[in-house]
């Protein structure tokens, strides 16, 4: 169970890395269409992966950015400094 959680987080981090770097590149090259397409492609993947993760392991964000279905899962462990 923990292995699956870490694996899913690793997949999210890999895609998120691409999204962050493309974001910074696009800030100073806003008319680069290839980068823009790649950014949108990774963003789509990231949304999907985070949705899958949150369905299984609870919300990644709070303050109204993620649902907490059934019960309040925000207080559940692990916090980032307690596991992968």
């Amino acid at each position: 169970m923990m292995d699956l959680r870490c694996k899913m987080l690793d997949d999210i981090r890999a895609i998120e890395f691409m999204a962050v770097e493309l974001n910074l590149f696009l800030d100073i090259n806003p008319h680069d269409h290839r980068a823009l397409n790649e950014y949108n492609d990774y963003t789509r993947q990231l949304h999907e992966l985070k949705y899958q993760f949150e369905q299984q392991f609870g919300p990644l964000t709070n303050f109204g950015y993620s649902y907490s279905l059934h019960h309040w899962r925000w207080i559940d462990r692990p916090w980032p400094w307690e596991s992968c």
């Binding site: 998120e16 800030d27 990644l60 964000t61």
Partner: protein, 114 residues
């Protein structure tokens, strides 16, 4: 303005806790040339930046700096250390207080976030 994500941007596993390294890393985070200061500088500069591209970059790298894993790396170096570990001269922890030393990674290489 910002939202918290309950995950690390990059996973960190410390195999061997080391008080000197903890001091170095906490300095990279909150010290005079640390990540916190840099990130607050970017976020202040953005208000006066006239160029749209640069305004966006300042906003985004200022934001990213706050996601930095340095506080986590620093705490990961300390949990199993005893009081003696932190006070013996060899530990390097008691000479100067954490946060008070600039650019320690030059003599004690550690990769800063950016």
């Amino acid at each position: 303005m910002w939202i918290y994500e309950k995950k690390l941007q990059y996973p960190v596993r410390i195999k061997k806790p080391d008080a000197r390294m903890a001091k170095c890393v906490i300095t990279q985070y909150g010290g005079p040339d640390g990540e916190l200061a840099a990130s607050l500088r970017y976020l202040s500069q953005r208000y006066h930046m006239p160029i749209p591209e640069a305004k966006a970059i300042l906003n985004d790298i200022g934001t990213e700096g706050s996601q930095c894993a340095t506080p986590f790396i620093s705490q990961s170096h300390t949990p199993t250390l005893s009081a003696a570990d932190l006070t013996t001269p060899q530990s390097g922890y008691h000479h100067t207080r954490p946060f008070c030393q600039a650019n320690c990674y030059k003599s004690n290489p550690v990769s800063p976030c950016h």
